[in-house]
Symmetry: C2
Subunit: 663 residues, 2 copies
Amino acid sequence: MGGITVSDRKQFRDLATPEAAREAIASLELTGEPESVPLTEARGRVLAERIDAGRDVPGFDRASMDGYAVRARDTFGADEAEPAVLARVGEVHAGEEPDVSVDPGTCVEISTGAVMPDGADAVVMVERTDPADAVGEGDGEGENDSDGDRIAIRTTVAPGDHVMLAGADIAAGARALGPGTRLTPREIGLLSALGVEEVPVRGRPTVGIVSTGDELVRPGEPLSDDRGEIYDVNSYTIASAVEEAGGSAELYPHVGDDYEEMERLLSRAADECDLVVSSGSTSASAVDVIYRVIERRGELLLHGVAVKPGKPMLVGRLDREDGGESAYVGLPGYPVSALTIFRTFLAPALREAAGLPEPETATVSGRLAVEQRHGEGRLRFLPVGLLEAGGDTETVVGDGYPLVYPVDKGSGATTSLVEADGVVAIDPDTDYLDAGERVEVELFSPDVRPPTLLGVGEDDPALNRLLDGLDRPRYLPVGTREGVRRLRDGLPDVAVTAGPVRRSVEAVDLGGWTREWGLVVPRNNPDDVQGLVDLIERELRFRNRTSDAGLRTALEAEIESLADERGIDREEAIDAIDGYGLESRAFESPARAVAGGDADVGLGLRATATELELGFVPIGIQEVRVRANPERTEKPSVARLESALAADDHLLGLDGFDSTGGS
Amino acid sequence: MGGITVSDRKQFRDLATPEAAREAIASLELTGEPESVPLTEARGRVLAERIDAGRDVPGFDRASMDGYAVRARDTFGADEAEPAVLARVGEVHAGEEPDVSVDPGTCVEISTGAVMPDGADAVVMVERTDPADAVGEGDGEGENDSDGDRIAIRTTVAPGDHVMLAGADIAAGARALGPGTRLTPREIGLLSALGVEEVPVRGRPTVGIVSTGDELVRPGEPLSDDRGEIYDVNSYTIASAVEEAGGSAELYPHVGDDYEEMERLLSRAADECDLVVSSGSTSASAVDVIYRVIERRGELLLHGVAVKPGKPMLVGRLDREDGGESAYVGLPGYPVSALTIFRTFLAPALREAAGLPEPETATVSGRLAVEQRHGEGRLRFLPVGLLEAGGDTETVVGDGYPLVYPVDKGSGATTSLVEADGVVAIDPDTDYLDAGERVEVELFSPDVRPPTLLGVGEDDPALNRLLDGLDRPRYLPVGTREGVRRLRDGLPDVAVTAGPVRRSVEAVDLGGWTREWGLVVPRNNPDDVQGLVDLIERELRFRNRTSDAGLRTALEAEIESLADERGIDREEAIDAIDGYGLESRAFESPARAVAGGDADVGLGLRATATELELGFVPIGIQEVRVRANPERTEKPSVARLESALAADDHLLGLDGFDSTGGS
């Protein structure tokens, strides 16, 4: 493929409506072939046909109590005071064929579950009987009297008492379970009672996943940053979403934008699957190639839908070698967009084909935390995060609905997948949603649960340990300044700050610690770095933190006072540091660059240097504080964070970390 | 083992409270060893440890648009009217290493996802560019000017525009996912972005299931009714409930009440599993044996709990060969009781050990359909059925809560497993619950959904087909008379009657059909049966239906008129029929007895005879009617049933069936 020009690109000018997209997908045949699975693997599957009882359950008249099998008429009139005394002529246990019958005046000892002996029509519970010796001479008159004990029956029973007749539970030929029944443990129980070993179930729709993009590499394989390779995200995300929706996913090898190769791969996937889904590439050329393959080797039903994100969606059919057809859907390339479109349009169709109901936990009601303006004239799926209001009614935030807030990272970010919990569908006619408005969030998965705690601010190893001890926290490492700003805006439960906070914020201090920071250097400090001066005066490759990091602020303050001290210009000092502009977003990254030989000096913590077995040149001590939204201090997750802070376990073994207690 | 006497039996006099049972179970160690699973199998599992990013994502500065990589300062001042013209010196696609750098005055064509070439710090979207020829002479001044095209840049970009910097998505060393995170498709996506191929997850607790009872046979194996064998229900029910709760189930061979064998099996299961569950036998002797094994080979923490059902529950520990311990729980023998106790006490403990949250769909609120009296002084789990109120708000029954009604079959019936949907816990202090009261139903499984339709009455092959076409119907084949009684009491949506209805009921007739009934005989009628007279006058083995069946009522009426005709006594005629008292509960059962050689003549339908390729001697035509609860005719499921009745598809190919239309 040559250069990309505007005229080469598919313009999707005639966008289909979302309803048309749903209809196009509904027109596809996704249902798999019915199959037979062993009973032990049938849970969660859906019956393909009605199951009638193949036999009576129980298959015989069955004692339902431990006691004595009798002829009911032999007990007529018996009671506590005047028992009937019967001759015990034998016994029968569960799993045994009776070797004796019950004649008038006799009884047979019987266990729960045992076959009723011939002649008997009722069971007397053992609790209503006694050995006859205990009551003196009885009036038993059975002919086998001499063979066994004599039993006093202290109650009158009617025919059928404590007996389950053959077929009383379910009779041969009766309808047991209908087609479409989802098999949960209880249905498995009924099927086992019927002796069903192989269960006819609906086939799972098979979904072939074709990823486009020369830059994609499977997890586990080596990656070249120089060639701009990245790990394949969509294939795995969509494959597990397919399985979650009741389908069976098959991953196909990656393919670039070569027409022949794409055609071969799509044809093979079509031959082998009920549905072929392509995703991965965000490049227009690959989409163009797919488009051409579908048009030539099948039928394109729809290209482009008036939704955001998801505009480049394709729906069509692919011919199979056997003369049949496979369904085809092309998803957008960005992970959040791909999952949104899958969840909205494809998952319901797959569940329908698999015979599974829409999960009740697929959506959650919440209240919008901030107003939302919209004016795009097309359906918008706004990625949003959720925040649990709090478990306890007394400490609940607002009216108990979770808070819903937009997640505004670019949809190309894979972290959006976990920072957003789902999407809010905003219809083309809505141009304003007020803060506090009730909205329905379509969760990315029915198993997604709102986080219990939302924290923002600095990143720090002790903080990571604190978070590990909480249940479903969400933490956005946006740095101190941005963290304080967001806390002031009222959304997060807590903000974590490092170093001095310039703008004041109304907050409740939950506790904190100090951390020693400085320059991370290779083991044994081979360049003999003594301090910041060496960075300025010598040729050392430095690795910095981003300007939102508390360590960066501390570094800048040190450089400023160093410049003052030496009477040089601050900017000049900074320009003299090679790599000052090479910024890392995580506290460990500069040290990793040092460990990997990509830098001589990195901005970082003593604890990191110790952990990575690197050298360390101390510069200062910085205070880290956890500050709570004043309205959320009673929220259970915030209270748990406060106790964890007080316990100080998160500081154990972290070199250069120290407790400061509450402020 | 010898005879059972009262003194031999464990009496469970000191019953533990349900809270003590919960505590005893909470004291057991159920957690499995952490393990590592491939990413493709990680969905639904729970992270055993925190995952930090092992690398920057992306690993390089990445173009996030198709367009031209530029030095931002070369575009300063450019706009639609006065474009900057740059020399295009090369191109770079996703997955390629750039072979060119961007010097002042030049640009490189770039695809989304490609590596930014050296020198470039921003991308201009292709939409904001044109080939420079189209604008006449530009002012490009790059030294490679002569090598390529000239591109007009019609906008000003800032450094970083449309570029995702290395590590901007997630930086090496940053906290990606916390321990305890449940892996849904989105987390799978993030893990794949990080290149994580093997995921450290919490181990599933392994649960060994030991079934006690000599009478138990595995589904798929032959069953002897003579020996009183039945298929094992509890093992399969509990095994799938274990899997549903996040555990891994292992079935052990059945064991009788032999001490040595039981000890060997329980010890083996303890060595191999985190938890051993026994269930199956309802016989006191087997429970006694288990009790003795646990006391000798471990520790019994609790025997007997003050709940109904579930009194005989055992909780303890079993020693392992390696010096460790395995947890032990003994469940009651009846399937519904076993599942109730599992669901209430064990499933939450297993989920906790597996790190899974309590499912939100584990309980459902409903309104009690009938009053409930209770006075047992202990916690009662009442098995109940649910009935969906109706999907549409306009046609909803009551206030939209499903109806809850007790299922009063003995808990020994396996059909209770599917006729009840869960249990209502009634506290020892509650002795009365009014009809209409709000109750919480603890569902047998989070996947259980209330039926959309509750039907009662006659059983019939055409009806079975109608039911097959509905979504989640529940039908109780209680016969015509009982069906009418229940419809009058107001619970069911519809009752199906066969033959004349003696007691009037206010109902809306939805439609019906007629069916031909008579005597089913072997193929070609070898005994030359001509009619009922042969049953009375000859030695033929007959198989009847139960007295609740419409066919039985019709048969009785025929016998009565035959007796009148011939001037004989009705009772005498009945006594003369060999097997008149052998009653089957399903319409097909007598015919199956004929097919199996167990009877010479069976009461049944022409359609059944035709289907089983048997002979048939007609006696009469019987009308079957479907009658709706007058308050439910607008309910969507009832309306669907009515349309299905009108369509008559359910009668196709059923020999002797005829349409009658509405009444």
